[in-house]
C-alpha cells in the first residue's frame, strides 16, 4: 500500500512539475522577448527591419549599427555617438557609488555602535529620504547646485546622487551592522583601537555581502537615472541615459531602429554586467541582512 501511494505521489509530482516548468518557461520567454528583439534587430541592416518582421533572425549580419551607435550617430547636434556620454556616466557613477557606499557604511556604524541621543530620529529622517519622489527635490536641488557653483557639472551630479543614495546605503549598512556583535567593538575598544580603526579593521572586513548589495543598488540606480541627468547636466556632462534619449529623438530623416537598439543595449550593458558578475552575492547579501537583522 505504501508503495502504491508512493507511486501516485510520484506521478502527480511529475505532472505538477511539468506544469510548473511549462509556466516558468512561458514567463522566461515573455521576459526575454524584448531583449531578443533588441539583440536581433541591432545586427540587421535597416532595410530588413522595414520589411516588418521584428522577430526574424537577420538575413544579413552586420555590426554597423553598433559602430554607428557607439561612435558616429547624431546625438543632439553633434555626430559623436554615445561614447563620450558613456564616459560621462562612468565618471559620474564610480565616484558617486564609492562615496555614497562609504558614507552609508560610516552612518550605519555610528547609528548602531556609537549611538547618541536622538539616533532613532536621525535614522528615521534618513529613511524618509528614501521615500521622497525625485521630482520634489528638483527645484531646491537646482538652487543649491547653483549656489555651490556646481550647476551643469559632473561634480554636481555626483553630489546629487550621493545625497539621494545616502538614505538607502545607510539603511542597508545600519541593518547589517545592527546584527554585528557589540562585544567585538568592546573588545577592540579595550584593545586600544579608536573609532576609525575599529571601522576599518573589524567592521569593514566583515561587510563584504552588504557592500556588494549597496554597490549594485547604487550603481544601477545612478547609471539608470534619467531625471537628474536631464535636469542638472550640461551638454558636456550629460550621462548615457540622456544621450540615449537624444539619440532616439534626433531626427535626421529616417528612424534608424537598428542603431537605436544597439544604443539601448550599450546603455544597459554595464548594469547587466554588474548583475551577472555579482548577482548571486546580491541575493546572498540581502538574505544575510534579512536573517540577522
Amino acid at each position: 500500500m505504501s508503495a502504491a501511494s508512493k507511486d501516485t505521489a510520484l506521478r502527480t509530482g511529475v505532472i505538477a512539475r511539468a506544469l510548473i516548468y511549462a509556466i516558468l518557461l512561458v514567463f522566461a520567454v515573455f521576459y526575454l522577448l524584448p531583449l531578443f528583439v533588441m539583440l536581433v534587430n541591432s545586427v540587421k541592416p535597416l532595410e530588413e527591419i522595414r520589411q516588418g518582421n521584428m522577430l526574424a533572425f537577420p538575413e544579413l549580419f552586420t555590426i554597423e549599427p553598433w559602430i554607428q551607435a557607439w561612435g558616429e550617430a547624431q546625438i543632439g547636434v553633434q555626430p559623436t555617438g554615445l561614447k563620450p556620454y558613456f564616459i560621462n556616466s562612468l565618471v559620474m557613477v564610480i565616484p558617486a557609488v564609492i562615496i555614497s557606499t562609504l558614507l552609508g557604511a560610516i552612518n550605519g556604524y555610528v547609528l548602531t555602535k556609537w549611538q547618541f541621543p536622538g539616533h532613532r530620529i536621525v535614522f528615521g529622517l534618513m529613511l524618509f529620504s528614501c521615500f521622497i519622489p525625485f521630482q520634489i527635490v528638483l527645484i531646491p536641488m537646482a538652487r543649491i547646485l547653483g549656489m555651490l557653483d556646481l550647476a551643469g557639472t559632473t561634480y554636481g551630479l555626483i553630489l546629487v546622487h550621493v545625497v539621494y543614495g545616502l538614505g538607502f546605503t545607510t539603511l542597508f549598512f545600519r541593518n547589517y551592522y545592527d546584527a554585528f556583535p557589540t562585544e567585538l567593538i568592546r573588545a577592540a575598544t579595550i584593545d586600544g583601537a579608536g573609532f576609525f580603526r575599529i571601522f576599518q579593521r573589524i567592521l569593514l572586513p566583515s561587510s563584504g555581502p552588504i557592500i556588494v548589495v549597496t554597490v549594485i543598488w547604487q550603481f544601477t540606480n545612478v547609471w539608470n537615472d534619467f531625471l537628474f541627468g536631464a535636469s542638472f547636466a550640461d551638454f558636456d556632462s550629460q550621462p548615457m541615459t540622456v544621450a540615449l534619449n537624444n539619440l532616439v529623438s534626433s531626427s535626421t530623416g529616417v528612424k534608424e531602429y537598428n542603431v537605436h537598439f544597439a544604443g539601448a543595449i550599450l546603455a544597459a550593458l554595464p548594469t547587466l554586467i554588474v548583475y551577472i558578475v555579482s548577482g548571486r552575492y546580491f541575493v546572498r547579501g540581502l538574505m544575510a541582512g534579512a536573517v540577522k537583522g
Binding site: 556583535p181 562585544e183 568592546r186 579595550i190 579593521r201 572586513p205
Partner: protein, 370 residues
C-alpha cells in the same frame, strides 16, 4: 589600599537604578567572583570596571589610581567576553596581537609574545586559523590568550564558560584556576553559576537587584550566609529553609518545626547569641542537604546529631549520593543520604540532623541571626 577598590558605586539607566551603592575591595593576586541571578547588575559592574559603561556616581580605583574618567584602553585591563568576541576576519595570531599592535609594539616583539602565550595555552597549531574554524573550547583559549598577551594589571572575565558544554566547562574552570595560581594575576570574574564561584574565587561577592548581599571567602559565604538570599543561592541542591519556632525550655533553646500531627522539636546546641531574644517567636531554620543524612552516613566528627523519623516522598539517586525529599514544616526538605538501600517512597525512616551546622534567619528582615 586594596588593589581594586570600588566605593559607593551607583549606576542608573534613566530612572532605573541598576547598581545601588556597591563597595568592594580586592587585594593584588585575588580572584573576585561576582555572582548573582540574571539582572542583578553583575555584568554592569564588570563593564563599569572596564570603562565600557559610564557610572553615575562613586569611585573605581585600580592599583591606587582612580580610573573613573579613563578610557577602557588606558586602564591597563584585559577582558574575556562571553561570546569570546574574536575578530572574525583576523587569524588567531592577529587576534592575539591586535591589542599590542594598537599600542605600537614592534612586529618582532609581538611575534615573541604570541609564541609565549600560545605555548602556555597550547594553541600553537591554531595560530594561522580563523576564529570560524575553531571549536568552542579553542575559541575560549584564544580569547584568554588575547587577554594574557598584554600582561595587564587586571583581568575581567564576563561569564566566559557559559557557552561551553558541561564537560568542557569543568576542564576550562580547572585551567583558569591553574593559570591564576601560576601567574598570580588579579581577576574579576562574573558568573551566574555558584559552583564556578565556589571553585574559583578567593573572594565571592553575591549581588541581587544591584545591592551587594555579601562579600567573603567561599567558605564564609557558604557556611555563614548573611541572609536567606545568599543561603538559597549558594549551594546545590539549595539550603532547606524551614519556618520554625524557638522554644526556651529550662535554659536550653530548641527549635520547633510544626508538622501535621505533632511538631518536631530539635535541640539547638550552640545557639547564636541573639537567638535568645527570639524565644517564643518564629524564625527561619536553614539546614543544608548534606547536614540531613541517614544516621549511618552522619558526619562522625559532628557533636550534635539529632534524630527524627520522617516519611520519604521522593528518592533521587545521583550515583554517589541519593537525595531524599521529605516534608518538614509544610515545606519540601532535601536530605543527602549515602546509603540508599531500603529507602522506599512513603516509608518512615530515621533522619540525622547535624544541629551544629544549622542557620537561623529572621523571617521579616531575612537577615542571618548571629
Amino acid at each position: 589600599m586594596a588593589f581594586l577598590e570600588i566605593n559607593r558605586l551607583h549606576k542608573q539607566y534613566g530612572n532605573v537604578e541598576v547598581l545601588k551603592g556597591v563597595d568592594i575591595a580586592i587585594e593584588e593576586g585575588g580572584f573576585l567572583v561576582l555572582v548573582g541571578p540574571s539582572g542583578c547588575g553583575k555584568s554592569t559592574l564588570l563593564n563599569s570596571i572596564a570603562g565600557l559603561e559610564s557610572i553615575t556616581s562613586g569611585e573605581i580605583a585600580i592599583d591606587g589610581k582612580v580610573v573613573n574618567d579613563l578610557h577602557p584602553s588606558k586602564r591597563d585591563i584585559a577582558m574575556v567576553f562571553q561570546s569570546y568576541a574574536l575578530y572574525p576576519s583576523m587569524s588567531v595570531a592577529e587576534n592575539i596581537a591586535f591589542g599590542l599592535e594598537m599600542r605600537g609594539v614592534s612586529k618582532a616583539e609581538r611575534e615573541e609574545a604570541i609564541q609565549g602565550v600560545a605555548g602556555m595555552l597550547q594553541i600553537e597549531h591554531l595560530l594561522k586559523r580563523r576564529p570560524g574554524q575553531l571549536s568552542g573550547g579553542q575559541r575560549q583559549r584564544v580569547a584568554m590568550g588575547r587577554a594574557l598577551v598584554r600582561d595587564p594589571k587586571l583581568f575581567l572575565f564576563d561569564e566566559p564558560l557559559s557557552n561551553l558544554d558541561a564537560k568542557l566547562r569543568v576542564d576550562m574552570r580547572t585551567e583558569i584556576k591553574r593559570l591564576h595560581q601560576k601567574l598570580g594575576t588579579t581577576i574579576v570574574y562574573v558568573t551566574h553559576d555558584q559552583i564556578e564561584a565556589m571553585t574559583l574565587a578567593t573572594q565571592i561577592a553575591v549581588l541581587k537587584d544591584g545591592i551587594l548581599q555579601q562579600v567573603g571567602s567561599p567558605d564564609e559565604v557558604y557556611s555563614k550566609p548573611a541572609n536567606m538570599f545568599v543561603a538559597d543561592f549558594m549551594g546545590s541542591p539549595t539550603m532547606n529553609l524551614i519556618e520554625a519556632r524557638i522554644e526556651n525550655g529550662s535554659g536550653a533553646l530548641s527549635v520547633e518545626i510544626p508538622q501535621r500531627d505533632r511538631s518536631l522539636s530539635l535541640p539547638v546546641p550552640r545557639p547564636p547569641s541573639s537567638l535568645q531574644s527570639y524565644s517564643g517567636k518564629s524564625v527561619v531554620l536553614g539546614i543544608r542537604p548534606e547536614d540531613i543524612t541517614d544516621p549511618d552516613g552522619a558526619d562522625p566528627k559532628a557533636e550534635h546529631i539529632a534524630h527524627a523519623n520522617c516519611s520519604v516522598e521522593v528518592v533521587e539517586p545521583t550515583g554517589a549520593d541519593t537525595f531524599v525529599v521529605t516534608q518538614l514544616g509544610g515545606k519540601e526538605v532535601t536530605g543527602r543520604m549515602r546509603n540508599a538501600a531500603g529507602l522506599s517512597v512513603g516509608a518512615d525512616v530515621p533522619f540525622a540532623f547535624n544541629m551544629g551546622k544549622i542557620h537561623f534567619f529572621d523571617p521579616a528582615t531575612e537577615q542571618r541571626i548571629a
